[in-house]
């Protein structure tokens, strides 16, 4: 009976979330959000992107590479990246949900390393 109760509780908790996302998916999630229309002017000006925003950022960060891993090269660590991503998912969990520009500003202000990473620049 005890095991059954634990099982029911575990099932209930486990049903709320899936496995950990891969680093390329997590990185690309942020790029897609930033480039979603309507794209904020701050993104365009700060990251210096055009309408091919996703391609340009992928080219700078190599996030579309299945071998991409946080914490290597100029990429922040996964934990730091998740911390910086928090303002960008306030508008919603779905990756196609465009973040509010205030949240983008918040993320860029708090995470200059993220901006540098997205601009293809190395760690200071």
């Amino acid at each position: 009976m005890k095991h059954a109760l634990v099982l029911f509780a575990a099932l209930a908790v486990a049903s709320c979330t899936g496995p950990a996302a891969s680093d390329p998916d997590l990185c690309e999630d942020v790029i897609v959000r930033l480039c979603s229309n309507p794209r904020c002017d701050l993104v365009t000006q700060t990251l210096n992107v055009t309408n091919a925003c996703i391609d340009e950022l992928n080219a700078r960060t190599h996030c579309d590479d299945p071998a991409f891993t946080f914490g290597t090269g100029n990429a922040p660590t996964r934990d730091r990246f998740l911390e910086c991503r928090i303002p960008l998912i306030r508008a919603g969990d779905s990756r196609t949900t465009a973040p509010h520009c205030d949240d983008v500003d918040d993320a860029f202000t708090r995470c200059e390393d993220l901006v540098r990473f997205l601009n293809g620049e190395g760690q200071p």
Binding site: M1, A12, A14, S15, D25, S94
Partner: protein, 454 residues
């Protein structure tokens, strides 16, 4: 753990309110019986035992017993237990268990690929469809199984139980005296001018007629405690007191002095006395009855018209054959006003009734007979001589113009018309001559019949 869960489940079920309704259905009458119960209010009661000329009063202490008539019935006490929550709980339980169980059983049919369109704040993908189905299934089972358990337990507790018991119903009750106990001591008679104490002899107090006359009311106490006399015993006591008033019968010369009214009263008392002293009462009845007949014989010429009973105006005229007529301005009316018409003279009268009243008369004994005297205001009849009887006589005042004629009306007489104030009447009767209390002669008409004036 299983025990704990069972206890928690039972506790939760016990909190579910069950509606309980008890219905009583009366069955057949089994038997009827009487039961007696002493109430404990013991009182002294007197029992009257007439034994003319003495009266025995037995005093005993009685309790009051209540006798109840009881009907015993069979009664079915039917208890119905229902729960309003059974329906919803059963529905939720069945649906939750079925849906949850189905989802869990069929969870492998859902894809286990995570939802990659969603990555949460911790960097996890969204749950796979299998995870969602498993979660919902677990939640549905978590709600459904307890609800089903509650519903099943409530269903088991619901139902109807019947118990047959005997029931008593008191249909009547009566109180009576019971459990007599002898008493002793001194009986204090409170009705006498001063307290009198008499000792009880074997629980009995014996009084003779002289003692009863002296006592007046019979109110007793024994050693300071009141003695009650029940209604039936009081009636016997009153009958005995009636005997005391009329027995022994006076001698003939004393009997002759009694008026008809006094004799009637004594005859009534003798009738009451007959209940407790029948032999003595029978003898007294004969004596008083004979005396009454003698008095009525003496008084008859003064108070009633002789002859057979008259039934109509024509019979009255035929029997009396009046020659004189009293009306306004007639010579006969003038002679009547001067008291010149002879006594027993039959007359007819025509006049108007001014009023009807009761006038006081007295029968005064004379050496040569009786005088019937109208009592005027302020006259003591005893100054006129020995008063045999006082009587109020029903009199109509008839107006013949301005002349006043007093007409004596027989008590209870029913004629062709009512004699009341304002009526114009024809009367037929005879002239009676009496006296006023001041000695002056007074003529009246004793009416035999009356009719409306023709």
């Amino acid at each position: 753990m299983r025990r704990l869960l069972a206890i928690v489940l039972c506790g939760a079920c016990a909190c579910v309110p069950m509606q309980e309704e008890v219905r009583v259905e009366r069955g057949p009458l089994l038997r009827t019986y009487e039961r007696e119960q002493a109430l404990g209010n013991r009182t002294l009661q007197a029992e009257v035992l007439p034994r003319w000329p003495d009266l025995d009063i037995r005093i005993q202490r009685f309790d009051t017993c209540r006798t109840e008539k009881v009907e015993e019935y069979a009664e079915d006490h039917i208890t119905e237990r229902t729960s309003r929550g059974v329906g919803p709980a059963l529905t939720l339980g069945i649906c939750g268990t079925l849906v949850g169980g189905s989802l869990l059983v069929a969870r492998n049919a859902f894809s286990n690929d995570p939802n990659k369109d969603v990555i949460d704040g911790a960097g996890h993908y969204g749950p796979s469809p299998r995870q969602v189905a498993t979660g919902w299934g677990a939640a549905a089972l978590t709600a459904g199984i307890p609800a089903l358990a509650v519903a099943l337990i409530d269903l088991a507790r619901s139902g109807e139980t019947s118990e047959t018991v005997k029931a008593d119903q008191v249909v009547s009750a009566r109180d009576n005296l019971c459990q007599p106990q002898p008493v002793s001591g001194n009986v204090e008679m409170l009705g006498a001018p001063g307290p009198r104490a008499y000792p009880l002899q074997n629980g009995v107090l014996t009084l003779n007629p002289d003692q009863l006359r002296e006592l007046g009311e019979v109110t007793m106490s024994l050693n300071g405690e009141p003695v009650f006399i029940a209604r039936a015993e009081d009636e016997k006591l009153n009958a005995f007191r009636a005997c005391v008033r009329v027995l022994p019968v006076p001698k003939d010369d004393q009997l002759g002095l009694l008026s008809a009214g006094q004799l009637h009263t004594r005859l009534d008392l003798v009738s009451a006395c007959a209940r407790v002293a029948p032999e003595a009462a029978e003898e007294a009845m004969r004596a008083y009855d004979g005396a009454l007949k003698g008095v009525e014989q003496r008084e008859r010429p003064q108070s009633s018209v002789p002859g057979p009973r008259i039934e109509s105006w024509d019979e009255a005229v035929e029997q009396l054959q009046p020659k004189r007529h009293l009306a306004e301005g007639t010579a006969d009316a003038l002679a009547f006003s001067r008291n010149e018409l002879p006594a027993d003279e039959p007359v007819t009268v025509t006049g108007r009734v001014r009023t009807r009243t009761l006038l006081p008369f007295a029968l005064i004994s004379r050496s040569n007979g009786f005088d019937f005297v109208r009592l005027l205001n302020g006259v003591d009849p005893n100054t006129l001589g020995p008063v045999v009887e006082k009587r109020d006589v029903d009199v109509a005042v008839i107006m013949l113009g301005k002349q006043e004629v007093l007409a004596i009306l027989a008590p209870g007489a029913v004629w062709d018309t009512a004699v009341r104030g304002g009526a114009q009447l024809d009367l037929v009767g005879v002239v009676r001559t009496v006296k006023d209390s001041d000695g002056k002669p007074l003529s009246l008409i004793e009416v035999s019949w009356a009719r409306s004036a023709q």
